[in-house]
Symmetry: C2
Subunit: 351 residues, 2 copies
């Protein structure tokens, strides 16, 4: 059997139990599970439950903190800087996104620098929070180097993703969520779990040679050459260096020998009503979506998709029909459940 | 003779005279000339003086306004919205960038939406303003559709560029300035002036067919497929739709028949000192630059360049040796000078 199909509620309950066993507060565990399963529902499997075994390992190595002391270090009416104390990404990011939306309602914009956090999952979850409160959401995140800068054959930047989301009226919100690499690192993990090769041009092996074997893939490549590479460098200037917790420079300069998981990010919200009429804004986004979708198509395209549309279609489908998990992911989750003494749910027992 | 080499001061004086003849206030004409010649000095010839004849045409068609009534429509301690009254881009953008830097010094961030402006030239000029006052600068701009969304064979988005700049200490600032198309539209204008073909994959002709002839190139293509296309859509949501002056939707929906030049933009500044120690920030950017540059190189690369570095090298060189202008550009400028009764300077008389 190639994959197992699981109901999202069942998967979310299991995921939440795993994180409670790791020592997280029940509400934090529930939030973490919601963000991961949201990614799976949306078809962003690379940022879904396949990350669980890695998170467990990071908690064991004290690189992810299930009981963080999250603090606001700096604050003005429009900005804040949050010390994440290595919190699970969703826990600190939802907290900060909520704050910046509230600030945006007062001053037009809220901008938070998140310091010393860990894996956030799919950024679209957070920027969509802003759209529900009639703001445009922005999120950027950086981790230690995993991508070769344009012209290099060794890691020097992170394939930092950016997400931007804007609300429509009749249509679901537009939500872009893209890495600065040709392919997100999670897509390579997924290829490993599926046992399938990756396309040429996605990655280099640890010696800087091109590879199509996901097990040898070690260094990601930027999209658009200097464009993806340049955006990634600038994102580190907006996140890690701004947070006083740089993640590239200490590795590159040799101050830090070991690359270990850590993240810094930005979440921001821009309040639409501060600038323009909200209803007209939302209607115009509707018209924009409809206009783009009705353009004449290039050969081979049966439909023109706008940012977030494919994920939304998958979301609706999987909400009804369940989430397909590849065999490799199921095996890894079973092992994790046993290790943590989480009772094996039926779908894990029988598969 | 393939090109003419002109001293930057001579070129800037001529350019300023052209704009004064168009009715601009002397200080506005000088600023416009400075921004254009800065682009030429930096090697961004696509955004330099080759644009002058087009600007003259736009003024004649009342699409660019040499005597604008620039007004602030909305303002909070952190944001503002500026009505540009079809001002020349640099005039309104320098005004707004100055404001957002001042706001950033008080609240950590300043974010301006620029409404109803015209061509800004190279965005790096503005984001570098922020670095000189110890802030990170961001600029985004959108015009009417000139790029095919991913999967389409007709224009539906603009190849909106983004610039981000951050200050270093010993090194020049990092400054990224990139379009969301594979190649900036100005690069195609430059190929026209040079009489050289463009690479396959840059553009489609007006019927949506691929072309390498810069004279037939009519529709740009996004970089990274859905990535460039998606960024462009989201940038319109942050600029035109936010400004209540959408530039894509009215064309796509047929509300507006004619695509005519207009722009909306965002400029923003994030004050470094609000978040972290400024000296450490600048030193870390230095270390980051040095670290990236000293990575092992891919075959065929003699050097790894960081964002803005190539432009800076060209700037230093052209400051000393002059700016080479292709024959086509010189002819066009000569014609413009005659039309506007600007005394032909020696370099235009003799070439």
């Amino acid at each position: 059997m190639e994959s197992v199909c699981v109901d999202w509620r069942v998967l979310q309950k299991f995921t939440s139990e795993v994180f409670e066993k790791l020592g997280m507060a029940p509400e934090d565990a529930a939030l973490e599970a919601e963000v991961l399963v949201w990614a799976n529902l949306s078809g962003i499997d690379s940022h879904g439950v396949l990350r669980i075994p890695w998170y467990v390992e990071l908690v064991e190595r004290a690189l992810m903190n299930p009981k963080p002391n999250i603090r606001i270090l700096r604050e003005t009416p429009s900005v804040l800087m949050v010390e994440g104390d290595r919190a699970f990404g969703p826990v600190v990011t939802v907290f900060a996104m909520d704050k910046v939306i509230t600030k945006a309602k007062k001053t037009g914009i809220g901008w938070a620098v998140l310091r010393n956090i860990t894996h956030q999952g799919a950024l679209g979850y957070y920027t969509l929070m802003a759209t529900r409160r009639n703001a445009v959401g922005i999120a950027i995140v950086c981790s230690p180097p995993n991508m070769a800068p344009f012209g290099a054959r060794a890691p020097g930047v992170h394939n930092s993703p950016i997400s931007i989301a804007a609300p429509a009226k009749q249509h679901p919100p537009l939500v872009l969520d893209m890495a600065t690499s040709i392919a997100a690192g999670g897509k390579i993990r997924l290829a490993r779990d599926k046992g399938s090769p990756i396309p040429q041009g996605w990655a280099l092996d640890k010696n800087g040679e091109p590879t199509t074997d996901p097990n040898l893939a070690s260094i990601l490549l930027p999209f658009g050459g200097p464009k993806g590479s340049g955006l990634a460098m600038m994102f580190e200037c907006l996140t890690g260096i701004m947070a006083g917790n740089p993640l590239q420079e200490p590795i590159l300069s040799g101050k830090k020998k070991q690359r270990e998981h850590n993240q810094n990010g930005v979440v921001a919200a821009i309040d639409i009503g501060t600038f323009t009429d909200l209803e007209i804004y939302r209607q115009t986004v509707d018209g924009y979506i409809e206009g783009v979708k009705s353009l004449p198509r290039t050969e081979g395209f049966s439909e023109i998709l706008v940012p977030g549309e494919l994920e939304r279609i998958t979301y609706e489908k999987r909400l009804k029909n369940g989430i397909p998990l590849p065999r490799g992911t199921v095996e890894n989750l079973k092992e994790t459940a046993r290790k943590l003494n989480v009772a094996l749910p039926e779908w894990l027992r029988d598969n």
